[in-house]
Symmetry: D2
Subunit: 109 residues, 4 copies
């Protein structure tokens, strides 16, 4: 991971330590919290049509961005606990996905 | 965002385009898919104790890493669709959280 | 289904109709909403230990009950839309589960 | 609750006891499992349009019914652990919802 993600991870460690939250931050609990935040993100979209979801107004877009940040922050914390390099894991998963869903020979126009 | 995230985002765009998946990738659908992947991540932990979740064996840890990658890949795609800078959003959310949960004056020993 | 569930389903139909919510209540959207409510339920437990979750105080228990009601109400509405008998589906799933997870010959003492 | 739900709950108790699953079935874990099953239900809908979700073919509808059964079975088990009457909780929640979302005076035609 590059420096901006590393500095976020360090800030999250400091934040949790200053509040003595480490005992709560088992991977089991962080995975729960991540899933809860993902649902809060989904909640913003649940009654929108797909078309509406493609053209959010600025206020809604800001709210959605804050929920996405929550998901990201838990993802970074969980990765840190488990010593997983998120960017590396993502690259490897894309290779798996490319095999699982081969692109058609004639790409879409 | 730094170059490694930008290159992941570009790879995801190319991947979706080569498969003509763009019509499916409304923010509403991406938020659903992200939430489903977060639950698949949680599933690995649901019957573990917190202590067990802190000491995963290598095989389980690899499976968990692959699920985290799925969450991350959808998060990056959703951010790309909505033109949200995930790292910037995360930094701003940490400032909000610091106000919401002030650290105690006497930090834990 | 017996009469108490049938009367709940009818009340939910009347409720949605009086508010002209039918256009929003596609099965896709109801499944999203159900998933969001399930996460709100989970949120009550995310930082508790398992032991704490086994002895909720009355106030927390009431809050949890209200979240469970939300999940149940969306489940009933989705079943109604898809013309699925929830109790019958549950009975059939238990038979499937009994084959998938056979009970040990020597039952636990 | 009427007899059909009571008999389902009793069957679930017997099922868990015969497999010695009780130690795993803390409310915290059951809420996680319920949330995971709700996401598996959502997964069936994530790439469908709302219109497609309103006209599932029989095979898909059966799969969706089985996922709904999983959600229901965990909901019943969690309610049993917490000594919550699900039908009663649902009725009370509908009264709360009626206050929160008052019906318009002129109902939709």
């Amino acid at each position: 991971m590059e420096s901006e993600l590393k500095s976020l991870v360090q800030a999250l460690r400091d934040f949790a330590q200053a509040r003595a939250w480490e005992p709560y931050h088992s991977p089991k609990n962080l995975a729960s919290a991540l899933s809860v935040e993902a649902a809060e993100l989904l909640e913003h979209f649940q009654w929108l049509t797909e078309a509406q979801s493609r053209s959010l107004d600025p206020e809604k877009r800001a709210e959605v961005g804050a929920e996405m940040a929550d998901v990201f922050l838990y993802l970074l914390q969980l990765a840190d606990k488990l010593d997983i390099d998120l960017v590396d894991a993502a690259r490897r998963k894309m290779i798996v996905n490319a095999r699982k869903y081969p692109a058609p020979l004639d790409p879409p126009a």
